[in-house]
Protein backbone atom coordinates (compact mmCIF):
# COMPACT_ATOMS: atom_id res chain seq x y z
CA UNK A 1 0.00 0.00 0.00
CA UNK A 2 2.72 2.44 1.01
CA UNK A 3 4.66 1.34 -2.02
CA UNK A 4 1.71 2.00 -4.25
CA UNK A 5 1.24 5.46 -2.77
CA UNK A 6 4.88 6.26 -3.24
CA UNK A 7 4.67 5.09 -6.81
CA UNK A 8 1.63 7.21 -7.45
CA UNK A 9 3.20 10.31 -5.92
CA UNK A 10 6.38 9.71 -7.79
CA UNK A 11 4.45 9.25 -10.99
CA UNK A 12 2.46 12.44 -10.46
CA UNK A 13 5.63 14.38 -9.76
CA UNK A 14 7.29 13.12 -12.90
CA UNK A 15 4.19 13.67 -14.92
CA UNK A 16 3.89 17.25 -13.76
CA UNK A 17 7.52 17.92 -14.56
CA UNK A 18 7.46 16.28 -17.97
CA UNK A 19 3.99 17.23 -19.14
CA UNK A 20 4.37 20.36 -21.25
CA UNK A 21 0.60 20.83 -21.21
CA UNK A 22 -1.35 19.97 -24.27
CA UNK A 23 -1.58 22.49 -27.08
CA UNK A 24 -5.37 22.42 -26.93
CA UNK A 25 -6.00 25.16 -29.47
CA UNK A 26 -3.65 23.66 -32.06
CA UNK A 27 -5.15 20.20 -31.53
CA UNK A 28 -8.67 21.58 -31.94
CA UNK A 29 -7.79 23.36 -35.19
CA UNK A 30 -6.26 20.16 -36.55
CA UNK A 31 -9.23 18.07 -35.40
CA UNK A 32 -11.59 20.55 -37.03
CA UNK A 33 -9.76 20.57 -40.35
CA UNK A 34 -9.23 16.80 -40.49
CA UNK A 35 -12.71 15.86 -39.27
CA UNK A 36 -14.37 18.44 -41.48
CA UNK A 37 -12.45 17.17 -44.50
CA UNK A 38 -13.48 13.57 -43.84
CA UNK A 39 -17.12 14.66 -43.57
CA UNK A 40 -16.69 16.65 -46.78
CA UNK A 41 -15.44 13.52 -48.54
CA UNK A 42 -18.38 11.64 -47.03
CA UNK A 43 -20.74 14.26 -48.43
CA UNK A 44 -19.19 13.91 -51.89
CA UNK A 45 -19.56 10.11 -51.77
CA UNK A 46 -23.15 10.49 -50.64
CA UNK A 47 -23.95 12.91 -53.47
CA UNK A 48 -22.35 10.44 -55.90
CA UNK A 49 -24.63 7.64 -54.68
CA UNK A 50 -27.66 9.91 -54.97
CA UNK A 51 -26.85 11.14 -58.49
CA UNK A 52 -25.38 8.05 -60.12
CA UNK A 53 -27.03 5.14 -58.32
CA UNK A 54 -30.46 6.64 -57.64
CA UNK A 55 -30.32 6.32 -53.86
CA UNK A 56 -32.57 8.67 -51.92
CA UNK A 57 -31.01 10.90 -49.33
CA UNK A 58 -31.82 8.63 -46.39
CA UNK A 59 -30.72 5.38 -48.09
CA UNK A 60 -27.43 6.87 -49.33
CA UNK A 61 -26.07 7.04 -45.78
CA UNK A 62 -25.35 3.31 -45.53
CA UNK A 63 -23.26 2.80 -48.69
CA UNK A 64 -21.45 6.06 -47.89
CA UNK A 65 -20.38 4.70 -44.52
CA UNK A 66 -19.32 1.43 -46.15
CA UNK A 67 -17.14 3.24 -48.71
CA UNK A 68 -15.55 5.41 -46.02
CA UNK A 69 -14.80 2.25 -44.04
CA UNK A 70 -13.13 0.57 -47.02
CA UNK A 71 -10.99 3.66 -47.59
CA UNK A 72 -10.07 3.82 -43.92
CA UNK A 73 -9.17 0.12 -43.71
CA UNK A 74 -7.01 0.50 -46.81
CA UNK A 75 -5.10 3.48 -45.41
CA UNK A 76 -4.72 1.70 -42.09
CA UNK A 77 -3.27 -1.32 -43.88
CA UNK A 78 -0.58 0.69 -45.63
CA UNK A 79 0.22 2.48 -42.37
CA UNK A 80 -0.99 5.91 -43.43
CA UNK A 81 -4.08 6.32 -41.25
CA UNK A 82 -2.21 6.02 -37.98
CA UNK A 83 0.30 8.66 -39.04
CA UNK A 84 -2.58 10.87 -40.08
CA UNK A 85 -4.16 10.16 -36.70
CA UNK A 86 -1.11 11.40 -34.84
CA UNK A 87 -1.52 14.73 -36.59
CA UNK A 88 -5.31 14.94 -36.55
CA UNK A 89 -6.15 13.62 -33.08
CA UNK A 90 -9.90 13.43 -32.62
CA UNK A 91 -10.34 14.56 -36.23
CA UNK A 92 -9.35 11.07 -37.32
CA UNK A 93 -10.95 9.21 -34.41
CA UNK A 94 -14.45 10.69 -34.23
CA UNK A 95 -15.60 10.04 -37.84
CA UNK A 96 -16.70 6.50 -38.66
CA UNK A 97 -13.30 6.05 -40.35
CA UNK A 98 -11.79 6.07 -36.86
CA UNK A 99 -14.03 3.16 -35.88
CA UNK A 100 -12.84 1.20 -38.92
CA UNK A 101 -9.26 2.17 -38.12
CA UNK A 102 -9.64 0.82 -34.57
CA UNK A 103 -10.94 -2.51 -35.87
CA UNK A 104 -8.42 -2.96 -38.66
CA UNK A 105 -5.38 -1.83 -36.70
CA UNK A 106 -6.22 -4.32 -33.95
CA UNK A 107 -6.76 -7.03 -36.55
CA UNK A 108 -3.40 -6.29 -38.18
CA UNK A 109 -1.55 -5.97 -34.91
CA UNK A 110 -2.65 -9.36 -33.60
CA UNK A 111 -2.37 -11.19 -36.92
CA UNK A 112 0.79 -12.88 -35.69
CA UNK A 113 -1.24 -14.71 -33.01
CA UNK A 114 -3.31 -16.45 -35.64
CA UNK A 115 -6.58 -15.83 -37.42
CA UNK A 116 -8.87 -17.09 -34.67
CA UNK A 117 -7.16 -16.09 -31.45
CA UNK A 118 -5.39 -13.07 -32.88
CA UNK A 119 -7.55 -11.45 -35.54
CA UNK A 120 -10.90 -12.82 -34.37
CA UNK A 121 -10.26 -12.41 -30.68
CA UNK A 122 -8.69 -8.96 -30.72
CA UNK A 123 -10.48 -7.15 -33.53
CA UNK A 124 -12.87 -5.43 -31.12
CA UNK A 125 -10.24 -4.68 -28.52
CA UNK A 126 -10.38 -0.92 -29.11
CA UNK A 127 -13.74 -0.49 -30.81
CA UNK A 128 -15.73 -2.95 -28.69
CA UNK A 129 -16.71 -0.39 -26.07
CA UNK A 130 -18.38 1.75 -28.74
CA UNK A 131 -20.61 -1.15 -29.78
CA UNK A 132 -21.29 -2.29 -26.22
CA UNK A 133 -22.27 1.12 -24.88
CA UNK A 134 -24.13 2.09 -28.05
CA UNK A 135 -26.18 -1.11 -27.97
CA UNK A 136 -26.96 -0.95 -24.26
CA UNK A 137 -27.95 2.72 -24.52
CA UNK A 138 -30.13 2.02 -27.57
CA UNK A 139 -31.79 -0.86 -25.72
CA UNK A 140 -32.78 1.27 -22.74
CA UNK A 141 -33.90 4.19 -24.88
CA UNK A 142 -36.09 1.87 -26.92
CA UNK A 143 -37.50 0.39 -23.69
CA UNK A 144 -38.38 3.91 -22.51
CA UNK A 145 -40.17 4.55 -25.82
CA UNK A 146 -42.01 1.23 -25.50
CA UNK A 147 -43.18 1.97 -21.95
CA UNK A 148 -44.21 5.52 -22.86
CA UNK A 149 -46.09 4.07 -25.81
CA UNK A 150 -47.93 1.60 -23.54
CA UNK A 151 -48.85 4.43 -21.22
CA UNK A 152 -50.04 6.43 -24.20
CA UNK A 153 -47.59 9.27 -23.61
CA UNK A 154 -45.86 10.40 -26.77
CA UNK A 155 -45.21 6.86 -27.87
CA UNK A 156 -43.63 5.39 -30.97
CA UNK A 157 -40.62 7.23 -32.22
Amino acid sequence: MADKQMDEQHYKKIRKKRDPGRPVLRNCVRAFLAGGTICLIGQAIQEAFIHWFDFDKQAAGNPTVAVLIIISVFFTSIGVYDKFGQWAGAGSAVPVTGFANALSSSALEYRSQGLVLGVGGHMFKLAGSVIVFGTVAAFFIAIIHWVLGLLGIGGGS
Binding site: C28, A34, C39, I69, A93, V94, V96, G98, T135
Partner: protein, 117 residues
Protein backbone atom coordinates in the same frame (compact mmCIF):
# COMPACT_ATOMS: atom_id res chain seq x y z
CA UNK B 1 -24.08 24.75 -49.36
CA UNK B 2 -24.55 21.19 -48.11
CA UNK B 3 -20.79 20.71 -48.45
CA UNK B 4 -20.06 23.74 -46.32
CA UNK B 5 -22.36 22.54 -43.53
CA UNK B 6 -20.91 19.03 -43.74
CA UNK B 7 -17.43 20.47 -43.27
CA UNK B 8 -18.30 22.92 -40.49
CA UNK B 9 -20.56 20.61 -38.46
CA UNK B 10 -18.39 17.52 -38.93
CA UNK B 11 -15.32 19.52 -37.92
CA UNK B 12 -17.23 20.97 -34.98
CA UNK B 13 -18.13 17.52 -33.64
CA UNK B 14 -14.46 16.53 -33.92
CA UNK B 15 -13.53 19.61 -31.85
CA UNK B 16 -15.89 18.35 -29.14
CA UNK B 17 -14.07 15.02 -29.30
CA UNK B 18 -10.70 16.75 -29.09
CA UNK B 19 -11.83 18.75 -26.04
CA UNK B 20 -12.95 15.52 -24.37
CA UNK B 21 -9.42 14.17 -25.05
CA UNK B 22 -7.44 17.22 -24.01
CA UNK B 23 -9.50 19.11 -21.45
CA UNK B 24 -11.66 16.44 -19.80
CA UNK B 25 -8.76 14.00 -20.33
CA UNK B 26 -10.85 11.02 -21.31
CA UNK B 27 -9.17 8.10 -23.04
CA UNK B 28 -10.11 7.63 -26.72
CA UNK B 29 -12.32 4.67 -25.78
CA UNK B 30 -14.17 6.73 -23.15
CA UNK B 31 -14.55 9.61 -25.60
CA UNK B 32 -16.00 7.43 -28.35
CA UNK B 33 -18.36 5.66 -25.93
CA UNK B 34 -19.53 9.04 -24.61
CA UNK B 35 -20.19 10.31 -28.13
CA UNK B 36 -22.08 7.18 -29.14
CA UNK B 37 -24.29 7.24 -26.04
CA UNK B 38 -24.90 10.96 -26.61
CA UNK B 39 -26.00 10.19 -30.16
CA UNK B 40 -28.32 7.47 -28.91
CA UNK B 41 -29.94 9.84 -26.41
CA UNK B 42 -30.36 12.70 -28.91
CA UNK B 43 -31.69 10.22 -31.48
CA UNK B 44 -34.22 8.92 -28.94
CA UNK B 45 -35.78 12.33 -28.35
CA UNK B 46 -38.22 13.24 -31.13
CA UNK B 47 -35.82 12.04 -33.86
CA UNK B 48 -33.69 15.10 -33.19
CA UNK B 49 -30.60 13.48 -34.66
CA UNK B 50 -32.35 12.57 -37.92
CA UNK B 51 -33.44 16.19 -38.23
CA UNK B 52 -29.85 17.21 -37.58
CA UNK B 53 -28.68 14.89 -40.40
CA UNK B 54 -31.32 16.38 -42.69
CA UNK B 55 -29.62 19.72 -42.11
CA UNK B 56 -25.93 18.85 -41.81
CA UNK B 57 -25.75 15.88 -44.19
CA UNK B 58 -22.54 13.90 -43.89
CA UNK B 59 -21.35 16.36 -41.23
CA UNK B 60 -23.82 14.64 -38.91
CA UNK B 61 -23.96 11.14 -40.40
CA UNK B 62 -20.21 10.48 -40.64
CA UNK B 63 -19.13 11.14 -37.02
CA UNK B 64 -19.50 8.15 -34.69
CA UNK B 65 -22.31 10.00 -32.86
CA UNK B 66 -24.65 8.95 -35.65
CA UNK B 67 -23.84 5.29 -34.91
CA UNK B 68 -25.65 5.66 -31.58
CA UNK B 69 -28.55 7.33 -33.31
CA UNK B 70 -28.74 4.59 -35.95
CA UNK B 71 -28.84 1.89 -33.24
CA UNK B 72 -31.80 3.63 -31.60
CA UNK B 73 -33.59 4.28 -34.89
CA UNK B 74 -33.27 0.61 -35.85
CA UNK B 75 -34.71 -0.51 -32.52
CA UNK B 76 -37.57 2.02 -32.68
CA UNK B 77 -38.37 1.14 -36.29
CA UNK B 78 -38.87 -2.54 -35.47
CA UNK B 79 -40.54 -1.71 -32.16
CA UNK B 80 -43.21 0.09 -34.15
CA UNK B 81 -43.49 -2.69 -36.70
CA UNK B 82 -43.18 -5.88 -34.61
CA UNK B 83 -43.90 -4.81 -31.04
CA UNK B 84 -41.54 -5.23 -28.07
CA UNK B 85 -39.44 -8.00 -29.64
CA UNK B 86 -38.36 -5.44 -32.24
CA UNK B 87 -36.22 -3.73 -29.62
CA UNK B 88 -33.89 -6.74 -29.68
CA UNK B 89 -34.19 -7.67 -33.33
CA UNK B 90 -33.94 -4.13 -34.65
CA UNK B 91 -30.92 -2.60 -32.90
CA UNK B 92 -28.48 -3.54 -35.68
CA UNK B 93 -30.99 -3.07 -38.49
CA UNK B 94 -29.50 0.17 -39.83
CA UNK B 95 -25.91 -0.12 -38.65
CA UNK B 96 -25.40 -3.50 -40.29
CA UNK B 97 -23.68 -1.93 -43.30
CA UNK B 98 -21.13 -0.16 -41.10
CA UNK B 99 -20.44 -2.96 -38.65
CA UNK B 100 -20.37 -5.74 -41.25
CA UNK B 101 -18.14 -3.91 -43.68
CA UNK B 102 -15.75 -2.88 -40.90
CA UNK B 103 -15.43 -6.50 -39.73
CA UNK B 104 -15.14 -7.98 -43.23
CA UNK B 105 -12.57 -5.55 -44.59
CA UNK B 106 -10.54 -5.52 -41.38
CA UNK B 107 -10.38 -9.31 -41.55
CA UNK B 108 -9.32 -9.26 -45.19
CA UNK B 109 -6.75 -6.57 -44.42
CA UNK B 110 -5.28 -8.75 -41.66
CA UNK B 111 -5.08 -11.68 -44.04
CA UNK B 112 -3.47 -9.84 -46.95
CA UNK B 113 -1.43 -7.04 -45.37
CA UNK B 114 1.43 -7.01 -42.90
CA UNK B 115 1.26 -4.46 -40.07
CA UNK B 116 3.06 -1.20 -40.78
CA UNK B 117 3.77 2.04 -38.98
Amino acid sequence: MQYLWAFLIGGGICIIGQLLFDVVRLTPAHTMSTLVVTGAIIGGINDWYDKFIEFAGAGASVPIVSFGNALVQGALMELERDGWIGIITGIFEITSAGVSSAIIFSFLAAVFFRPKG
